[in-house]
Symmetry: C2
Protein backbone atom coordinates (compact mmCIF):
# COMPACT_ATOMS: atom_id res chain seq x y z
CA UNK A 1 0.00 0.00 0.00
CA UNK A 2 1.30 3.35 -1.11
CA UNK A 3 0.75 5.49 1.99
CA UNK A 4 2.58 8.43 0.42
CA UNK A 5 0.29 8.44 -2.58
CA UNK A 6 -2.76 8.56 -0.37
CA UNK A 7 -1.31 11.27 1.88
CA UNK A 8 -0.48 13.33 -1.16
CA UNK A 9 -4.12 13.32 -2.36
CA UNK A 10 -6.08 14.38 0.72
CA UNK A 11 -9.28 14.93 -1.28
CA UNK A 12 -9.34 11.22 -2.12
CA UNK A 13 -10.16 10.49 1.53
CA UNK A 14 -13.08 12.91 1.32
CA UNK A 15 -14.42 11.10 -1.77
CA UNK A 16 -14.05 7.66 -0.21
CA UNK A 17 -15.89 8.90 2.89
CA UNK A 18 -18.65 10.48 0.77
CA UNK A 19 -18.99 7.27 -1.26
CA UNK A 20 -19.40 5.33 1.96
CA UNK A 21 -21.99 7.68 3.46
CA UNK A 22 -23.98 7.72 0.19
CA UNK A 23 -23.49 4.03 -0.65
CA UNK A 24 -27.21 3.24 -0.20
CA UNK A 25 -27.88 5.32 -3.33
CA UNK A 26 -27.27 3.64 -6.68
CA UNK A 27 -26.58 6.99 -8.28
CA UNK A 28 -23.80 7.93 -5.83
CA UNK A 29 -21.24 6.69 -8.38
CA UNK A 30 -22.80 8.70 -11.23
CA UNK A 31 -20.67 11.67 -12.20
CA UNK A 32 -20.91 14.39 -14.84
CA UNK A 33 -17.97 14.56 -17.20
CA UNK A 34 -17.47 17.80 -19.13
CA UNK A 35 -15.23 17.97 -22.19
CA UNK A 36 -14.70 20.40 -25.07
CA UNK A 37 -16.82 19.62 -28.12
CA UNK A 38 -15.34 19.69 -31.61
CA UNK A 39 -17.34 22.89 -32.25
CA UNK A 40 -15.59 24.52 -29.28
CA UNK A 41 -18.68 24.36 -27.07
CA UNK A 42 -18.85 22.49 -23.78
CA UNK A 43 -20.09 18.91 -23.78
CA UNK A 44 -21.44 17.28 -20.60
CA UNK A 45 -22.79 13.83 -19.77
CA UNK A 46 -23.30 11.36 -16.94
CA UNK A 47 -20.80 8.50 -16.64
CA UNK A 48 -20.09 5.93 -13.94
CA UNK A 49 -17.13 6.20 -11.55
CA UNK A 50 -15.42 2.78 -11.74
CA UNK A 51 -12.91 3.39 -8.96
CA UNK A 52 -9.45 4.79 -8.41
CA UNK A 53 -6.51 3.18 -10.11
CA UNK A 54 -4.57 1.10 -7.63
CA UNK A 55 -2.44 3.21 -5.25
CA UNK A 56 -3.23 6.42 -7.06
CA UNK A 57 -5.67 9.30 -7.28
CA UNK A 58 -6.50 8.57 -10.94
CA UNK A 59 -10.15 7.98 -11.76
CA UNK A 60 -11.36 5.21 -14.02
CA UNK A 61 -14.38 5.39 -16.37
CA UNK A 62 -15.50 2.82 -18.94
CA UNK A 63 -16.84 4.01 -22.25
CA UNK A 64 -17.46 3.19 -25.90
CA UNK A 65 -14.70 4.13 -28.36
CA UNK A 66 -17.46 5.10 -30.80
CA UNK A 67 -18.95 7.74 -28.44
CA UNK A 68 -18.42 11.41 -29.20
CA UNK A 69 -16.33 12.06 -26.08
CA UNK A 70 -13.48 9.97 -27.52
CA UNK A 71 -13.12 12.24 -30.57
CA UNK A 72 -13.40 15.24 -28.26
CA UNK A 73 -10.70 13.98 -25.90
CA UNK A 74 -8.36 13.31 -28.80
CA UNK A 75 -8.75 16.93 -29.80
CA UNK A 76 -8.60 18.38 -26.25
CA UNK A 77 -7.57 15.89 -23.54
CA UNK A 78 -8.95 17.86 -20.56
CA UNK A 79 -12.08 17.22 -18.55
CA UNK A 80 -13.84 18.41 -15.44
CA UNK A 81 -15.86 15.94 -13.42
CA UNK A 82 -18.67 17.34 -11.31
CA UNK A 83 -19.65 14.88 -8.59
CA UNK A 84 -22.55 15.83 -6.38
CA UNK A 85 -23.48 13.58 -3.47
CA UNK A 86 -27.21 14.03 -2.99
CA UNK A 87 -27.35 12.74 0.59
CA UNK A 88 -24.29 14.36 2.17
CA UNK A 89 -24.59 17.56 0.08
CA UNK A 90 -20.95 17.46 -1.00
CA UNK A 91 -19.64 18.51 -4.41
CA UNK A 92 -16.29 17.65 -5.97
CA UNK A 93 -15.12 19.41 -9.11
CA UNK A 94 -12.20 17.38 -10.42
CA UNK A 95 -10.14 18.87 -13.22
CA UNK A 96 -7.48 16.94 -15.07
CA UNK A 97 -6.05 15.36 -18.17
CA UNK A 98 -7.64 12.24 -19.63
CA UNK A 99 -5.86 9.25 -21.07
CA UNK A 100 -7.90 7.06 -23.44
CA UNK A 101 -7.02 3.35 -23.37
CA UNK A 102 -8.45 1.43 -26.29
CA UNK A 103 -7.51 -1.95 -27.73
CA UNK A 104 -4.89 -0.39 -30.01
CA UNK A 105 -2.82 0.91 -27.10
CA UNK A 106 0.77 -0.34 -27.25
CA UNK A 107 1.48 -0.16 -23.50
CA UNK A 108 1.02 -3.66 -21.98
CA UNK A 109 0.33 -2.17 -18.51
CA UNK A 110 -2.52 -0.08 -19.91
CA UNK A 111 -3.92 -3.01 -21.90
CA UNK A 112 -3.92 -4.97 -18.66
CA UNK A 113 -5.96 -2.19 -16.96
CA UNK A 114 -8.44 -2.30 -19.83
CA UNK A 115 -8.77 -6.07 -19.57
CA UNK A 116 -9.26 -5.96 -15.79
CA UNK A 117 -11.89 -3.29 -16.13
CA UNK A 118 -13.74 -5.38 -18.73
CA UNK A 119 -13.87 -8.40 -16.46
CA UNK A 120 -14.90 -6.22 -13.51
CA UNK A 121 -17.99 -5.10 -15.50
CA UNK A 122 -21.29 -6.93 -15.37
CA UNK A 123 -22.31 -9.04 -18.36
CA UNK A 124 -25.12 -6.54 -18.96
CA UNK A 125 -22.59 -3.68 -19.15
CA UNK A 126 -20.41 -5.67 -21.52
CA UNK A 127 -23.33 -6.31 -23.87
CA UNK A 128 -23.71 -2.55 -24.47
CA UNK A 129 -20.47 -2.54 -26.42
CA UNK A 130 -21.93 -4.96 -28.94
CA UNK A 131 -24.88 -2.67 -29.70
CA UNK A 132 -25.19 -0.30 -32.64
CA UNK A 133 -23.01 2.81 -33.01
CA UNK A 134 -24.01 5.32 -30.27
CA UNK A 135 -25.69 8.56 -31.39
CA UNK A 136 -26.20 7.46 -34.99
CA UNK A 137 -29.80 7.49 -36.25
CA UNK A 138 -31.71 4.51 -34.94
CA UNK A 139 -32.78 2.29 -37.80
CA UNK A 140 -35.79 1.07 -35.86
CA UNK A 141 -34.74 -2.55 -36.20
CA UNK A 142 -35.91 -5.10 -33.73
CA UNK A 143 -33.37 -5.08 -30.89
CA UNK A 144 -30.88 -7.79 -31.68
CA UNK A 145 -30.12 -10.52 -29.20
CA UNK A 146 -26.44 -10.31 -28.39
CA UNK A 147 -24.59 -12.64 -26.13
CA UNK A 148 -21.14 -12.47 -24.64
CA UNK A 149 -18.95 -15.32 -23.45
CA UNK A 150 -18.06 -14.43 -19.82
CA UNK A 151 -14.48 -15.60 -20.30
CA UNK A 152 -13.81 -13.61 -23.51
CA UNK A 153 -11.75 -10.42 -23.20
CA UNK A 154 -12.73 -6.86 -24.16
CA UNK A 155 -14.41 -6.20 -27.50
CA UNK A 156 -13.05 -3.52 -29.83
CA UNK A 157 -15.51 -0.82 -28.79
CA UNK A 158 -14.57 -1.03 -25.11
CA UNK A 159 -12.19 1.56 -23.74
CA UNK A 160 -11.15 3.00 -20.42
CA UNK A 161 -10.68 6.66 -19.57
CA UNK A 162 -8.14 7.52 -16.90
CA UNK A 163 -8.63 10.99 -15.44
CA UNK A 164 -5.44 12.31 -13.83
CA UNK A 165 -6.63 15.15 -11.54
CA UNK A 166 -4.54 18.25 -11.03
CA UNK A 167 -7.13 20.37 -9.21
CA UNK A 168 -10.05 19.47 -6.98
CA UNK A 169 -12.59 21.98 -5.70
CA UNK A 170 -14.52 20.57 -2.74
CA UNK A 171 -17.72 22.16 -1.42
CA UNK A 172 -19.69 20.96 1.59
CA UNK A 173 -23.16 22.50 1.54
CA UNK A 174 -23.98 21.35 5.07
CA UNK A 175 -20.99 23.01 6.76
CA UNK A 176 -20.73 25.64 3.99
CA UNK A 177 -16.99 24.96 3.75
CA UNK A 178 -14.99 24.93 0.55
CA UNK A 179 -11.47 23.63 -0.02
CA UNK A 180 -9.35 24.00 -3.13
CA UNK A 181 -6.77 21.25 -3.66
CA UNK A 182 -4.02 22.07 -6.13
CA UNK A 183 -1.22 19.81 -7.33
CA UNK A 184 2.27 20.54 -8.54
CA UNK A 185 5.17 18.31 -9.54
CA UNK A 186 8.08 18.22 -7.10
CA UNK A 187 11.76 17.95 -8.13
CA UNK A 188 11.36 14.15 -8.48
CA UNK A 189 8.44 14.59 -10.85
CA UNK A 190 5.96 13.37 -8.22
CA UNK A 191 2.57 15.01 -7.81
CA UNK A 192 2.21 16.94 -4.52
CA UNK A 193 -1.04 18.39 -3.23
CA UNK A 194 -1.65 21.56 -1.26
CA UNK A 195 -5.03 22.76 -0.01
CA UNK A 196 -6.52 26.11 0.77
CA UNK A 197 -9.76 27.17 2.41
CA UNK A 198 -11.70 29.40 0.01
CA UNK A 199 -15.02 31.23 0.18
CA UNK A 200 -18.04 29.14 -0.87
CA UNK B 1 -50.51 30.63 -22.83
CA UNK B 2 -48.27 30.25 -25.84
CA UNK B 3 -49.27 26.87 -27.23
CA UNK B 4 -47.06 27.31 -30.27
CA UNK B 5 -43.99 27.90 -28.16
CA UNK B 6 -44.65 24.75 -26.20
CA UNK B 7 -45.36 22.67 -29.28
CA UNK B 8 -42.13 23.83 -30.81
CA UNK B 9 -40.07 22.56 -27.85
CA UNK B 10 -41.29 18.98 -27.39
CA UNK B 11 -38.44 18.14 -24.97
CA UNK B 12 -39.83 20.71 -22.53
CA UNK B 13 -42.81 18.42 -21.91
CA UNK B 14 -40.39 15.58 -21.12
CA UNK B 15 -38.58 17.77 -18.58
CA UNK B 16 -41.81 18.94 -16.93
CA UNK B 17 -42.95 15.33 -16.66
CA UNK B 18 -39.58 14.24 -15.21
CA UNK B 19 -39.67 17.10 -12.70
CA UNK B 20 -43.10 15.98 -11.62
CA UNK B 21 -42.18 12.31 -11.23
CA UNK B 22 -39.01 13.22 -9.30
CA UNK B 23 -40.54 16.09 -7.29
CA UNK B 24 -40.18 14.22 -3.97
CA UNK B 25 -36.39 14.60 -4.35
CA UNK B 26 -34.91 17.96 -3.33
CA UNK B 27 -32.04 17.43 -5.74
CA UNK B 28 -34.26 16.92 -8.80
CA UNK B 29 -33.76 20.60 -9.68
CA UNK B 30 -29.96 20.37 -9.37
CA UNK B 31 -28.25 20.45 -12.75
CA UNK B 32 -24.64 20.41 -13.89
CA UNK B 33 -23.60 23.40 -15.98
CA UNK B 34 -20.47 23.02 -18.10
CA UNK B 35 -18.70 26.05 -19.57
CA UNK B 36 -15.29 26.73 -21.11
CA UNK B 37 -12.68 27.90 -18.59
CA UNK B 38 -10.40 30.83 -19.35
CA UNK B 39 -7.54 28.31 -19.67
CA UNK B 40 -9.48 26.52 -22.42
CA UNK B 41 -10.33 23.57 -20.19
CA UNK B 42 -13.86 22.50 -19.32
CA UNK B 43 -15.44 23.83 -16.15
CA UNK B 44 -18.40 22.05 -14.51
CA UNK B 45 -20.53 22.76 -11.43
CA UNK B 46 -23.91 22.11 -9.89
CA UNK B 47 -26.48 24.91 -10.10
CA UNK B 48 -30.22 25.10 -9.42
CA UNK B 49 -32.84 25.09 -12.19
CA UNK B 50 -35.11 28.08 -11.39
CA UNK B 51 -37.70 27.39 -14.07
CA UNK B 52 -38.43 28.15 -17.68
CA UNK B 53 -38.90 31.72 -18.77
CA UNK B 54 -42.57 32.42 -19.30
CA UNK B 55 -43.92 30.95 -22.58
CA UNK B 56 -40.50 29.82 -23.71
CA UNK B 57 -37.99 27.00 -23.54
CA UNK B 58 -35.29 29.21 -21.99
CA UNK B 59 -33.85 28.03 -18.69
CA UNK B 60 -33.25 30.34 -15.75
CA UNK B 61 -30.40 30.03 -13.22
CA UNK B 62 -29.46 32.45 -10.43
CA UNK B 63 -25.81 33.08 -9.71
CA UNK B 64 -23.24 35.46 -8.26
CA UNK B 65 -21.66 37.96 -10.68
CA UNK B 66 -18.38 37.39 -8.82
CA UNK B 67 -18.31 33.64 -9.57
CA UNK B 68 -15.87 32.32 -12.15
CA UNK B 69 -18.59 31.18 -14.57
CA UNK B 70 -19.49 34.80 -15.31
CA UNK B 71 -15.98 35.60 -16.60
CA UNK B 72 -16.04 32.33 -18.52
CA UNK B 73 -19.39 33.06 -20.15
CA UNK B 74 -18.23 36.53 -21.19
CA UNK B 75 -15.35 34.87 -23.01
CA UNK B 76 -17.35 31.95 -24.45
CA UNK B 77 -21.15 32.25 -24.07
CA UNK B 78 -21.96 28.57 -24.59
CA UNK B 79 -22.89 25.96 -22.01
CA UNK B 80 -24.13 22.40 -21.78
CA UNK B 81 -26.43 21.44 -18.93
CA UNK B 82 -26.43 17.81 -17.89
CA UNK B 83 -29.58 17.00 -15.96
CA UNK B 84 -29.90 13.51 -14.58
CA UNK B 85 -33.10 12.45 -12.84
CA UNK B 86 -32.07 9.84 -10.28
CA UNK B 87 -35.50 8.30 -9.82
CA UNK B 88 -36.80 8.09 -13.40
CA UNK B 89 -33.34 7.41 -14.89
CA UNK B 90 -33.68 10.12 -17.50
CA UNK B 91 -30.87 12.36 -18.74
CA UNK B 92 -31.14 15.63 -20.61
CA UNK B 93 -28.10 17.24 -22.21
CA UNK B 94 -29.10 20.79 -23.06
CA UNK B 95 -26.73 22.81 -25.21
CA UNK B 96 -27.16 26.50 -25.85
CA UNK B 97 -26.06 30.08 -25.60
CA UNK B 98 -26.17 31.86 -22.24
CA UNK B 99 -27.25 35.43 -21.62
CA UNK B 100 -25.98 37.00 -18.37
CA UNK B 101 -28.35 39.54 -16.78
CA UNK B 102 -26.68 41.63 -14.10
CA UNK B 103 -27.71 44.97 -12.58
CA UNK B 104 -25.89 46.92 -15.27
CA UNK B 105 -28.07 45.53 -18.05
CA UNK B 106 -29.74 48.28 -20.05
CA UNK B 107 -32.78 46.27 -21.20
CA UNK B 108 -35.73 47.03 -18.88
CA UNK B 109 -37.41 43.69 -19.71
CA UNK B 110 -34.28 41.81 -18.61
CA UNK B 111 -33.92 43.91 -15.46
CA UNK B 112 -37.52 43.00 -14.66
CA UNK B 113 -36.68 39.29 -15.02
CA UNK B 114 -33.75 39.76 -12.65
CA UNK B 115 -35.93 41.53 -10.10
CA UNK B 116 -38.65 38.87 -10.26
CA UNK B 117 -36.08 36.14 -9.83
CA UNK B 118 -34.66 37.91 -6.77
CA UNK B 119 -38.05 38.14 -5.10
CA UNK B 120 -38.81 34.51 -6.02
CA UNK B 121 -35.70 33.40 -4.06
CA UNK B 122 -35.80 32.55 -0.38
CA UNK B 123 -34.31 35.03 2.10
CA UNK B 124 -31.60 32.45 2.81
CA UNK B 125 -30.66 32.33 -0.90
CA UNK B 126 -30.59 36.13 -1.07
CA UNK B 127 -28.22 36.34 1.91
CA UNK B 128 -25.57 34.37 -0.05
CA UNK B 129 -25.05 37.35 -2.34
CA UNK B 130 -23.99 39.47 0.63
CA UNK B 131 -21.22 37.04 1.62
CA UNK B 132 -17.53 37.35 0.76
CA UNK B 133 -16.23 37.02 -2.81
CA UNK B 134 -16.66 33.36 -3.93
CA UNK B 135 -13.48 31.30 -4.48
CA UNK B 136 -11.13 33.86 -2.93
CA UNK B 137 -9.02 32.64 0.00
CA UNK B 138 -11.09 32.44 3.15
CA UNK B 139 -9.80 34.89 5.73
CA UNK B 140 -11.05 32.71 8.57
CA UNK B 141 -13.08 35.53 10.00
CA UNK B 142 -16.07 34.81 12.17
CA UNK B 143 -19.03 34.49 9.82
CA UNK B 144 -20.65 37.89 9.68
CA UNK B 145 -24.30 38.29 10.45
CA UNK B 146 -25.93 39.69 7.36
CA UNK B 147 -29.54 40.61 7.07
CA UNK B 148 -31.68 41.47 4.10
CA UNK B 149 -34.84 43.56 4.00
CA UNK B 150 -37.44 41.30 2.28
CA UNK B 151 -38.81 44.24 0.29
CA UNK B 152 -35.44 45.44 -1.05
CA UNK B 153 -34.58 44.60 -4.64
CA UNK B 154 -31.57 42.64 -5.96
CA UNK B 155 -28.09 43.42 -4.62
CA UNK B 156 -25.22 44.09 -7.03
CA UNK B 157 -23.80 40.57 -6.93
CA UNK B 158 -27.06 38.93 -7.98
CA UNK B 159 -27.43 37.94 -11.59
CA UNK B 160 -29.55 35.63 -13.73
CA UNK B 161 -28.35 33.30 -16.45
CA UNK B 162 -30.73 32.57 -19.30
CA UNK B 163 -29.82 29.44 -21.25
CA UNK B 164 -31.32 29.46 -24.75
CA UNK B 165 -31.18 25.80 -25.85
CA UNK B 166 -30.50 24.88 -29.44
CA UNK B 167 -29.94 21.14 -28.98
CA UNK B 168 -31.27 18.66 -26.44
CA UNK B 169 -30.12 15.06 -26.20
CA UNK B 170 -32.59 12.97 -24.20
CA UNK B 171 -31.76 9.51 -22.86
CA UNK B 172 -34.15 7.25 -20.97
CA UNK B 173 -32.19 4.51 -19.23
CA UNK B 174 -35.31 2.52 -18.33
CA UNK B 175 -36.62 2.19 -21.88
CA UNK B 176 -33.12 2.56 -23.37
CA UNK B 177 -34.46 5.16 -25.81
CA UNK B 178 -32.62 8.23 -26.94
CA UNK B 179 -33.97 11.24 -28.80
CA UNK B 180 -32.01 14.12 -30.28
CA UNK B 181 -33.89 17.42 -30.51
CA UNK B 182 -32.37 19.98 -32.85
CA UNK B 183 -33.53 23.53 -33.48
CA UNK B 184 -33.27 25.78 -36.49
CA UNK B 185 -34.64 29.24 -37.23
CA UNK B 186 -37.47 29.39 -39.76
CA UNK B 187 -37.95 32.17 -42.32
CA UNK B 188 -39.64 34.31 -39.62
CA UNK B 189 -36.65 33.94 -37.30
CA UNK B 190 -38.59 31.65 -34.97
CA UNK B 191 -36.96 28.62 -33.40
CA UNK B 192 -38.35 25.31 -34.72
CA UNK B 193 -37.55 21.91 -33.26
CA UNK B 194 -37.15 18.57 -34.97
CA UNK B 195 -36.44 15.28 -33.26
CA UNK B 196 -34.73 12.09 -34.27
CA UNK B 197 -34.44 8.70 -32.61
CA UNK B 198 -30.76 7.84 -32.20
CA UNK B 199 -28.86 4.89 -30.76
CA UNK B 200 -28.26 5.07 -26.98
Amino acid sequence: MDGMGILSAPWKQLILRALESNSHLKHSSYIQLATIGLNGRPSNRTVVFRGFQENSDKIQINTDTRSRKIEELKYSPFAEICWYFTDSWEQFRINGRVDVIDGLNTDPVKLQIREESWFASSIKSRLQYLGPHPSLPSLGEQPQEFSVDPSTGPVGAFCVLIVDPDQVDYLNLKSNQRLLFTSRLNENGEKCWTSEKINP
